[in-house]
Symmetry: C2
DNA sequence: GTCTATACATCGATAGAC
DNA sequence: GTCTATCGATGTATAGAC
């Protein structure tokens, strides 16, 4: 068996689509086969079972989004500029994959805790042994770039501001008028809104 | 048929548990019956179908959390104090129901847009014809209690800070050390963290 | 590798006795 | 109202021809 055959890729693409949309329980092998332009039997030939196929999709998507985060960490030494880049980069990755965060948050709560190894696997692949986001914040505090804040509380706030609007977009668009996540200007507007709100609270 | 028979209540309780944990697709009528201490046939006797049972559970939970929001809106005129009460009250409602927000965000994205009528139904029941959260923010701006900010952007940020930590708790607890959402002090610590971060960004 | 046909399990729903 | 027994549909997985 070739490692990344054309068919295998078509299946992974289709499976990613369906799983992200319907979730593991709602996804149907038949629908994945249809979208991949093949038949059900071939799915099992390549991936043995629905469980194994799901596992691969989840791993792929999870590592994608986490690598994305880790890569921005060392881009600039200026902390405010780092936050700006972080939001922009993260939203650019997340918004086109409309269901990604919704899917991950939903599915991860049903998993065994040992699957959190994905985090540290990815950290290690990028040369970190500890949570690098916490390290980055502590460094900014030590250097006097921001005032002393609880890194954990700050991470929860900041990630929430980035992720929630994307995840809840299907509802928000109906109750917050004129909101369009996919608008060309949305990302830059969101970047500025977050930084305006946050910076005064953490600047030294 | 009595309106709220004892059995009916037991079913609703069990169904709520299972649906919030497993989602609509992952939930099994058998498991709901087991947890309610009855058999499958009785489920259909009371609720006709899984769809109808789910619909009732979703409606109940959705209205619960939305009523909770609306009630705090008119508690105080001081906007900063309002924010504080909002966070506290919301977290108190959400945290004990560990899967509530995760469930709603997940399921609502799969629904027909017309189910967003639940929002305005609840708004109307409390005497509002427009989105009352936006109104509240606009009022604070008009009165000079906060500086002019985009209400939509602010709502996304603020809700994100409240909801995300609870929804993502299963992951966060593993990568943000010493974090315990269920700790007695968590809510007050979170309240202060959010207000510290936010207030400097919006005070006049 | 890819297909058709089918086995096997499970789930939602109903029939019918009490 | 509540139960047992079972039907019918659907979903995952496999057997076997090509």
């Amino acid at each position: 068996m070739e490692f990344n055959s054309d068919t295998e890729q078509k299946i992974m693409r289709a499976a990613t689509e369906v799983f992200l949309e319907k979730g593991k329980d709602g996804a149907r092998m038949q629908e994945i086969a249809n979208r991949a332009g093949i038949n059900k039997a071939l799915l099992h030939y390549y991936f043995r079972s629905k469980d194994k196929l799901f596992e691969q999709v989840f791993r792929q998507e999870f590592k994608f989004i986490l690598s994305n985060i880790v890569q921005v960490l060392s881009v600039t030494d200026d902390f405010k500029e780092f936050l700006r880049q972080f939001v922009r980069n993260y939203l650019q990755a997340i918004i086109p994959r409309r269901n990604l965060m919704r899917f991950i948050i939903w599915e991860i709560a049903k998993m065994q805790p040992n699957l959190v190894q994905y985090f540290f696997e990815t950290f290690r692949e990028h040369g970190y042994t500890e949570n690098p986001v916490i390290l980055r914040i502590k460094k900014a505090i030590d250097e006097g770039q921001i005032k002393p804040v609880d890194p954990v509380q700050f991470i929860m706030s900041f990630l929430g501001m980035c992720i929630f609007p994307v995840m809840a977009a299907p509802i928000l668009q109906h109750i917050l008028y004129h909101l369009d996540i996919n608008d060309a200007d949305f990302i830059e507007q969101r970047v500025e809104a977050i930084l305006d709100l946050v910076w005064n609270g953490i600047k030294p």
